[in-house]
Symmetry: none
Subunit: 426 residues, 2 copies
């Protein structure tokens, strides 16, 4: 609850960077920030992307601050000439911009620790707007700034998400928590795999109606991508426990409707669910990949601590690699073709045997754009899972879309088959 200040209820986000105007890069920070602001009950009413232009940014910042109670400005805090955020915001507020010796010293130390001298242009990153609270950057050189302006707040955050996200969570969110009115938005994500978006939507529609009618209501947004469906549930209440109970009820409804197609109800990604299952059963996994070429191994090992259950893998892109590294008999490839259930099974069993793992997974397919035929068009992908135990399952998929799309869908399908093999053994 706010003490001396009126509560902050609305916000705008300004991303600074000419490169985000063309389409080559998009502003992903605003999605992260919006989600967290909503959790605090702060509504984002507008967001914008502005070129690296001092006068334009000065004007846009002043206008946004006149319209709303909280302005978050992301990016443009680098050391170079086209990083104009600090100076433009100072000008918009009519405040001085002064070098802070302590910040410059900290930046210099960062360089020295890596064996470099600090380039003189990095001094610019030590410039602080009059009256600002400096927000330390645990990951990069540019600190953030929190500036109180009458009853409003403007916050400067670095552009790289890996710097912005921890700074927002550690420095900005706790300060905002003391400045909001009280109703909290609580969210929960349920992941489904094995349904199309349309089929999921049909089955969800009666649930939506029931959720909207209850108190507090639960709202749902469905998002499909990468071969899976995410259902984002949200509820709001002054007492977050009440909102959480409403979400638990809605989650139970989804589990009832979708059964084994529910991958997680607590936000865990598929690769985390598979990792947790492997760890629980003290199993290790070996991966043999052709068309996905390392993407399954990379996704499993993106989870910290995955060395506890990932033994290793083989990227068997050529037939020669399938024979030499996985012991797939050349006769099986010649008889059935490289993209076939017998080859996928031999790859899964070969990986498991060669690496001495409890579970083996094999993936072979035609990602395109070339390589398709009438019988096996582009998008044909075969997944086999060997283990745990003596069981082997294989399944042939036909995925639509581009090369990258087929590869991503194949990765999701393979990890989901591993999940089901462990969670629901035959």
């Amino acid at each position: 609850m706010s003490g001396q200040h009126p509560a902050i209820g609305r916000a705008e986000i300004i991303a600074v960077g000419t490169e985000m105007l063309g389409g080559g890069r998009t502003d992903t920070n605003s999605v992260f920030l919006t989600r967290h602001l909503e959790e605090l009950g702060i509504e984002v009413q507008a967001k914008s992307v502005v070129a690296d232009d001092f006068q334009l940014l000065e004007r846009i910042v002043a206008e946004a601050l006149a319209r709303t109670e909280l302005v978050l400005v992301t990016g443009g805090l680098g050391p170079t000439d086209d990083d104009v955020t600090r100076a433009a915001v100072a000008a918009a507020l009519g405040r001085p911009l002064d070098e802070d010796e302590a910040i410059v010293a900290a930046i210099r130390t960062r360089f020295v620790r890596r064996g470099y001298e600090m380039p003189s242009i990095n001094r610019r990153q030590g410039m602080v707007i009059g009256g600002a609270v400096v927000l330390p950057n645990a990951v990069g050189t540019a600190p953030g700034q929190w500036v109180e302006v009458d009853c409003k707040v403007i916050v400067l955050l670095p552009g790289p998400p890996r710097e912005l996200e921890p700074m927002f969570l550690q420095e900005v969110k706790p300060r905002l928590e003391t400045r909001v009115a009280g109703e909290q938005i609580v969210r929960r994500t349920v992941r489904l795999i094995g349904r199309t978006e349309s089929h999921a939507e049909e089955r969800l529609r009666p649930l939506y109606a029931a959720w909207r009618a209850q108190v507090p209501p639960v709202t749902a947004t469905i998002l499909a991508g990468r071969g899976q469906i995410e259902l984002h549930l949200a509820s709001r209440s002054i007492d977050p426990a009440v909102a959480r109970r409403a979400l638990a009820g809605a989650t139970a409804d989804v589990e009832q409707a979708f059964g084994r197609d529910v991958c997680s109800t607590d936000g865990r990604a598929l690769e985390e669910v598979v990792g947790d299952l492997l760890r629980e059963k003290s199993l290790r996994i070996a991966i043999a990949e052709s068309c996905t070429a390392g993407m399954i191994a990379a996704r499993l090992t993106a989870v910290p601590g995955s060395s506890a259950y990932v033994e290793g893998g083989v990227v068997a892109y050529s037939n020669q690699a399938k024979v030499a590294l996985l012991g797939v008999p050349l006769s099986v490839i010649e008889e059935h073709g490289a993209v076939s259930e017998p080859v996928a099974v031999a790859m899964a069993e070969g990986a498991r045997a060669v690496l001495g793992a409890g579970v083996g997974v094999g993936v072979t397919g035609i990602a395109g754009p070339g390589g398709g035929s009438e019988g096996k068009p582009v998008g044909t992908v075969v997944v086999a899972v060997a283990g745990p135990g003596p069981d082997v399952v294989a399944r042939t998929f036909l995925f639509p879309g581009t090369r990258q799309h087929v590869r991503v869908f194949s990765t999701t399908a393979a990890l989901d088959m591993v999940r089901r093999s462990i969670q629901f053994p035959a």
Copy 2:
């Protein structure tokens, strides 16, 4: 060329729709519009997404029109209560909003032709701002509007891309062509690897000054990420060949200044450059990955046609996998540790030998968050490249940041070492 009007050189885009603020949906229209405006020589200086809020939109439209010469407003032209664009723009301009009987009749005909009666709410789509030119919608019900305001222009376009795109191309672009100065913007991207952003910037600064001073000037934006630097160059001229020549000169300056650190000057990604080099030399590559665990193979094979030069790879996550699949002697691991130059070299040579390839690359490192020690902290990564020919090079890096960050930087560093080994053999 403009006749009675001064030329339009700058624009802003406003997308209307609360649903685009959350992150579930993104504004893709602005990417389409920006590309076409740039072709006309019109620079997009800012773009924003605004909630379905009458008063807020009225204010934001008025402010944008005061800042720039052309404002494109997309979305919010539907028939429902939360479609506020027509009324908000009329209010911002202080003009009336009147029903146009001909538009309503055309909308009614669309419904009747499909066997429906027109819902009364659709009359709203026939409301026209005073003085506007109505832009017919070949695909949907909502017409667009072109409004002249003193020497400026504001255009209302429907939100669905399949309605917006033909309307822009058929109705808006031809009108804009008569209002621009005639200059085209031409762009070129140069990629650098092996420098920090600050160091690159210091060396580029004198070039920036020279480029700005020449005719036509060349502008540059620097972007760092994933362990590489992108330099986006742009120039504008009535004759695009002149702008392209200016960019060629600037590109030559960069090549002179950065030598072997220039990865590409034609926009190709690192993995494409490596692929093209392998193809040119008729070489095939084998990849042995520990901490990157498939990311190098996945990135190389993201390029269509990469089966011509990618033989395969091994994800040797455990020591057991390094020994069994790559023939790394256990004694070398025990003596030097799994993260060491001798092990990386043995991995690169092992992958090359086992897979019968011309080039082998080996990567081993500590991605974190666990596993670091005083001598080998988190972020320590060793890359070795064996070949082409008898040469073997190895290098130890120390990367900052999260697990994912270390893995991505390692992937870039490894591919760049392959590039240099082929491009500049010892």
